[in-house]
Symmetry: none
Subunit: 403 residues, 2 copies
Amino acid sequence: MDTDTILEGLLKENNSKIVMVVMDGLGDIRSPEFDNKTPLEYANTPNLDALAKESVCGRHIPVMPGITPGSGPGHLGIFGYNPLEVVIGRGVLEAVGLGIELKHGDVAARANFATLDGDGIICDRRAGRISTEKNKELCGILSRIKEIDGVKVTVEPGKGHRFVVVLRGDNLNPAVDDTDPQHEGHAPLQAKPQKEEAVFTAGIINKFVERARVLLQEQQPANGMLLRGISSRPKIPGLKERFKLEAAAIASYPMYRGIADLLGMTLLTAPDTIEGLFKAYIEFHNKYDFFFIHVKGTDQAGEDGEFLTKVDVIEKVDRALPILYEKRPNVLAITGDHSSPCPMYSHSWHPVPVLLNSQFSGTDDAVRFTENQCNIGGLGFFESRHLMTVLLANALRLDKYGA
Amino acid sequence: MDTDTILEGLLKENNSKIVMVVMDGLGDIRSPEFDNKTPLEYANTPNLDALAKESVCGRHIPVMPGITPGSGPGHLGIFGYNPLEVVIGRGVLEAVGLGIELKHGDVAARANFATLDGDGIICDRRAGRISTEKNKELCGILSRIKEIDGVKVTVEPGKGHRFVVVLRGDNLNPAVDDTDPQHEGHAPLQAKPQKEEAVFTAGIINKFVERARVLLQEQQPANGMLLRGISSRPKIPGLKERFKLEAAAIASYPMYRGIADLLGMTLLTAPDTIEGLFKAYIEFHNKYDFFFIHVKGTDQAGEDGEFLTKVDVIEKVDRALPILYEKRPNVLAITGDHSSPCPMYSHSWHPVPVLLNSQFSGTDDAVRFTENQCNIGGLGFFESRHLMTVLLANALRLDKYGA
C-alpha cells in the first residue's frame, strides 16, 4: 500500500501552520582545512542550537542510499512524492520556472545557445556564456518564429546562455531525444522521436532548429542551439489533493518556483534576502497552511566548493530565524533537499540533516543542528518522502490508522 | 519480495525460547514538568539498565514514519505482519477478545449502548457510560433475540457501555457500513450494504436493531445502540505457519488476547500483576517456543496523561524482570506496540524503543533502556514488521539466505 492509500481517510484539516525551510544542498561532509568540521558544525548558530535542543532531529535520504538526486527528485522527496515514481522533465522545470504557464500537452525543451564552426560542429556548448542581456536580444530574434505547421512556438530567455522553447498545438508528444550531443567537436543531433507518436513533434523541432539557424547565422558566438529535456507537464496531484494543504512557496529561483507550481503551490513574491523570505511568511501567515521557504545560497556555495560562503549563508539563516517566531508555526522543519558537500563541488548522496519542532515533536540528545548530531536524533534515518507525513502528524492532521 | 517468501526455506526449528514483553504504548516524549524526561528516563530501573548494557537497542516504526497505529496494526507489526496488508476488523477484535470463538464466515460488530431522545436522535453515544453490571443485564435482555431469518445471533457484554453482536449463518458478508454516525444530534444510521453480497447481512442487522429497540424502549439511559467495525475473521497464517513457532500469549486484556488468538497463539491464563505475568512464563516455559507477554498499564497511563503512573508501571516491570531470568529465554525482547506519550493523551507516531538480548545480540553504547539511548542503538530505526525476523535470527532459527 502506498502513502496515498494510507493517508486517504486519515487526513484531516485544522488551522495549523507548517513551515519547511529548505536550505538547498545543506548536507555536507567535514573539511580538513576548516577544523575538520562541516559548514553546519563550523557556523556560529546560537538560534539553531537553541532550537535543536527543543526539537527532534534526524537525517533523510532523498532517493535511496547512495543515489545523488537532482533538484527535481530532491524536492519531490521532501514534498512527499516518491522521486522514483514522479518524474518532472527538465524542459518543463525550466519553462514553469520562467513563469510560462504550461498546459497539459505542451512540449517544453531546455535550450542552450552554442557556438558552431563553419562545418556546423559545436566548438562551445555554452556560446561563451553570453550575458542575459544578449540572450534576451537573441530570443527576441527567435521569437519571429511564431508557428510551424500549426504548432505555436514560444521562446523565453533564461539566465546567461539558457532559454526555453515551448510548443503548443495538437498531437504533440515529448518522447523526443535531446539534440545536445553533450560534447564539443560533434554537430548538434537531429531531434529523434522515441516512438511513432512523437514523429510529428520531432519534425517540428527540427524545422524550428533549421529556421533558427538561418536567423542566427550572423550572430557570434551564439549562432547555434542545443535542446535538452524535451518534456510535457506531468499529471501530479498537488499538495491540496494529496495532503489537504493550501500551500505557498516563498522561493526566488525559477527552478524551485517551477517545482512548487507543478505541485499546486501558490507562488508568493520572494525577496532576495533571507530576512525577506522569512518576512514573507509572516505577511502571508494567515492565508496558507504550508509554507515552502527556499534558500538557494547553501547549494551554490557547496557546488562552488566555497566553505566559508556556505557557513555565511547558514549564519544568515540563523540570525533571521527569530523572524519566524513572530508568528510561530505549529510545525517548523529546517532541512535541505539534498547534500552538496564543499569538498565535492556537487550534489551528493549523503543523508540530509533535518530538524523538526512542534509541541509534540519530542526532543532528543542532539544539542546542535549538524549532520552528526542529527545522527543521534529521534527521527532516525528515513526516506525523504516520509517527511511530509511526519510533518502532518506533528500538525495533528492525521487520524489513527486502524483500531 | 515479502518476508514470507524470504523466510520460506530459511526457517528451522530448535529448542530456543523467545520472550517478547510488550509494554503497551511504551514510547513517549519528554515532559517539561518532570525534569524534561520521558517516563523511561525518569523511572528508576536498575534491572533494565543492566540489561540494556548487555543488549542491543533500537527503535521500531509501527506502520511508516508519521502514522499513528491503533492496537491492531501496532501488534500485527511486532508479530511480523505488515499492518498495511493484514487488517483485522474492530468487531472481530472485540469478539475474540471477549472469548467468543469466531468461525470463518461469522460477522461480528462492536456495539455501544447509546441514549436516544424522543425523536430517536442520539443524545449520548455512550449511554452515560453505564456500568459493566448494567451492561450485562441489558445484554441478557437482548439475548432473547436468538435468531433472525435463520441467522443465529449472539450478544456478549464487554466493559462499560460496550458489547459485541455476532451473527452466524449462511451467506453472511461483512461489507456493511457502521450504524454509528460518530456524532450526537443525529439518528443512528441504517446498516447499509457496501455491495450486493452484503444486502442480506445488512437486512439482518437492521432487523436486529429494530427488535432491540423494542426490547430496550423502557430502559434509561441505554435505550439505543450503535454498531461499528462490522467484520469477519480474516484468514491470517498464524505464527506456527509463518515462523514455525508454538506461540503462547500471556495477556489479560480482551483486545490483545483476541489478536493473539487470530494469530494462532495459545491463550494462557493471565494474572493481573506483572509478577504474575512473568511467573506464567516460568510455568509454561517448556511448552512453547514464543511467549507474548502483554503489559497494559503503560498505555492506559499514556492515554490518561498520567506520567507518574506510567513510571510506576515501568518500575514494576523492572522489579519483576529477574523472575524471567529463572528460566532465562534465549531471546528476550522488551518493547511496545506503539507510543502513547503522556503529553498527548493518545497513541502517537513516535518510533518505539526496543531492547533485544540474546547470546548473539551484541551490545551497543546504550547504557539505559530509554527512547534517546535507543536512538544510538545497534538495531537502528526499522519497521516493526522486521522485529520478528530479528528475534528468529537471534534464536538461530534462520538459515543463511543465498550461498
